[in-house]
């Protein structure tokens, strides 16, 4: 298989009653434009089951598969299992440390996801030292990133995408105050993404950030937080290399 996988993505839609129905009209021609819709967390405003039902109405039953991770807002009411169940009943796949594979005309798209967490970026990150609260914070971030890495490495597919709420790189935080970077993401997510042949990492959370970035390993990163992209979703076309092209490239590398 070869060709192009088409990925629609948006995060931080913060659905509640006052926003219900706002996104659906923008999705009218989604089937003609995308193979999948990714939701990069903060689906709800306060993480209540009522809001989750509105998310289910907004993004459920679309003509393409919908794959989501949760965000910090979705944890606000401590009802995560019920939220996940409501979204799953609407056909929305919610990832947390696991993956899903979608068959597209161009090949198998593998998506691994986690909410992720904060801690900051290489050289200036939080460390698991001192108070138990600090160790818990850094440990939670590390555990989520570890599971993302495992999910990315083990998913069998032709093209691999990482989906998180928190940011894996500081590049896409440009515009945010430096002081809050440790609350916006963690380099551990980038390290997990770089541990597999990932081609794209999509995240949200940073409302003041910027769209484009890259991990230290060269994986493209896109911040799709709704206040950043200012449209119903962003659309990405990803080339899926054909096995023949890969073989030729391999042969060139071998003889080169």
């Amino acid at each position: 298989m070869s060709g192009m996988v088409r990925i629609a993505a948006v995060g931080d839609v913060h659905i509640a009653e006052d926003v219900a129905g706002q996104f659906r009209p923008g999705m009218a021609d989604l089937a003609e434009r995308a193979d999948v819709l990714l939701l990069a967390g903060d689906l709800t405003r306060f993480g209540t089951p009522d809001e989750a039902r509105l998310v289910a109405a907004e993004f459920g039953g679309l003509p393409v598969p919908v794959v989501a991770v949760l965000g910090n807002h979705d944890y606000q009411s401590d009802q995560v299992p019920e939220l996940v169940s409501i979204l799953a009943d609407a056909g929305i796949t919610v990832l947390e440390g696991d993956s899903t594979v979608i068959d597209t005309p161009a090949g198998r798209l593998g998506i691994a996801g986690t909410k992720g967490f904060g801690g900051g970026f290489a050289g200036r990150c939080a460390t698991a030292f001192g108070e138990p609260e600090m160790k818990a914070f850094v440990g939670a971030s590390g555990a989520l990133a570890d599971r993302l890495g495992e999910a990315l490495r083990s998913v069998e597919c032709d093209v691999r995408v990482a989906l998180t709420h928190y940011a894996p790189v500081p590049d896409t935080l440009a515009g945010e105050p430096l002081e809050i970077y440790p609350f916006l993401g963690s380099y551990l997510l980038a390290q997990a993404i770089d541990s597999a042949p990932t081609v794209l990492a999509v995240h949200g959370h940073a409302h003041y950030g910027s769209e484009r970035g890259m991990t230290p390993g060269g994986v493209l990163v896109r911040n799709v937080a709704h206040p950043v992209i200012r449209q119903a979703y962003s659309l990405f076309h990803l080339d899926v290399p054909s096995p023949v092209t890969e073989e030729l490239a391999g042969a060139e590398r071998a003889t080169g």
């Binding site: 021609d29 306060f46 709704h226 206040p227 200012r230 119903a232 979703y233 990405f236």
Partner: protein, 92 residues
């Protein structure tokens, strides 16, 4: 959107007002907005950001005004659009 600066707290105190408003916007059970930038310029508190509905913008301003009556407030808060994208980004 600017209200008279008379009667507001001294400028130095606005550092604490800034902190309190940032926490208020995130922690108030009716608001939950972390994406609003709160800064003060001289004696004016400036709120900047994007929200999902005009009602959320009104609620933010109403809550801050109720908590700090008389505070000079300037708001640059817009509502995010939900139109479909014009074109895809072709990734290398």
């Amino acid at each position: 959107m600017t209200t008279p600066a008379t009667g507001g707290p001294p400028t130095g105190d606005l550092d604490y007002v800034e902190a309190e408003v940032r926490r208020l916007l995130a922690e108030d059970p009716g608001i939950g907005e972390q994406g609003i930038e709160v800064r003060h310029r001289e004696r004016v508190l400036v709120l900047r950001g994007e929200v999902e509905s005009p009602g959320r913008r009104r609620e933010i301003l109403r809550t801050v005004r109720n908590r700090f009556p008389g505070l000079a407030l300037r708001a640059d808060i817009s509502v995010s659009a939900t139109h479909p994208p014009d074109a895809p980004e072709e990734l290398p």
